[in-house]
Symmetry: C2
Subunit: 183 residues, 2 copies
DNA sequence: AAACTATATTTGATACATCTAATTATCACT
DNA sequence: AGTGATAATTAGATGTATCAAATATAGTTT
């Protein structure tokens, strides 16, 4: 006979993930996690939270007895942490690279976090690392993106920018060569 | 008395948007759009499609009489086209910039398209334009991202890359100056 | 400890998207 | 025109996430 409800392999819904993330975050911010706070954080009413807590409890993602303090299980903690990580990375991408304002970035990251696989997320990370560390066109370079956004593509400026890049590179190459020589 | 069901200002659900996009795409691929094809495209059963067609019809997004050919209304067409555009742009970003494989990119773009606002989408576009057109580090530059992904950050290579960039820039600056002079 | 307030839960309802099984319509062919 | 195959719809059910109203519990204050 098959397992009656083999719940363990059913994927979590986006809503469940959002609750776990919220509980994870609240757990770091406050001594105890309250229904009221979860409701506020997620913009839902308290009965909705209670109902979801029962679901999460059935799926062994939280320890929960009614009217008592609730805690993430190991499993729930890992999910919450992972979703938080996704949120953080995607929001960084939106704010630091695309220059989206924080509030909007936060809202959109919250939806994107359910759309993007772990491997794609890794690409986002690598891409951001690449921009910042190697070949170190990073932060300066992104300022030009800003200018591009605001003023469009202006050939003269483009030339000027490239000259700046060139001399910037010269400086950096020197610095790096010195470091290399020391080794 | 208020409008009985002021449906016009209710936002569309992601599912509705997916159906409109699918109908939009099928409309371009085939003479007529069939329930069966929509079902196949979206991975749902036919009754689900029928039911959604009724919803879309009530909301004046399609012209639909049962058993007859269906067509997008002007409004539905615009939504379908917009969602298609989002899909396309996000997928491009994933495949062309982050190097995610096409199939995965397609699946993830399909979820991301409901998470990203029009203004953020514009930033994605501008960012991709910026990478490709100005300051023209574009395609070459992305090859280095690939290498970075695969081999990590290797200082020697980083230096080599920067030297390449520098000389590449020199060449381009020359070319551009010639063009500028002609003006 | 009694009373009041804040917090949480239960109950019952709604909306949405989906499914299976049963039914009905359309189309193509002989 | 009748029949069989394909396509579409209806009917009825399920699961998820939400809400408002009513109720119950916990915590605080006098």
């Amino acid at each position: 006979m098959k397992n009656k409800d083999d719940i363990s392999k059913k994927p979590l819904t986006p809503a469940m993930e959002d609750y776990l993330e919220a509980i994870f975050n609240l757990g770091k911010e406050k001594r105890v996690v309250r229904v009221k706070d979860i409701a506020k954080r997620l913009g839902v009413k308290m009965p909705t939270v209670t109902s979801m807590l029962n679901t999460l409890s059935k799926r062994k993602l939280i320890d929960y007895e009614k009217y008592e303090y609730l805690e993430l299980t190991k499993k729930g903690f890992n999910v919450g942490k992972e979703i938080h990580r996704r949120h953080h990375i995607l929001r960084s991408f939106l704010t630091d690279i695309l220059n989206v304002d924080l509030k909007k970035a936060d809202k959109e990251a919250c939806k994107m976090e359910h759309a993007v696989s772990a491997s794609t997320l890794d690409r986002f990370i690598e891409f951001m690392e690449f921009i910042q560390f190697c070949p170190r066109v990073g932060l300066d370079w992104l300022k030009y993106f800003d200018e591009y956004r605001l003023h469009g593509q202006e050939p003269d400026k483009c030339l000027a920018r490239m000259k700046e890049f060139e001399s910037g590179f010269k400086g950096r190459i020197k610095t790096m060569e010195v470091v290399e020589d020391k080794k």
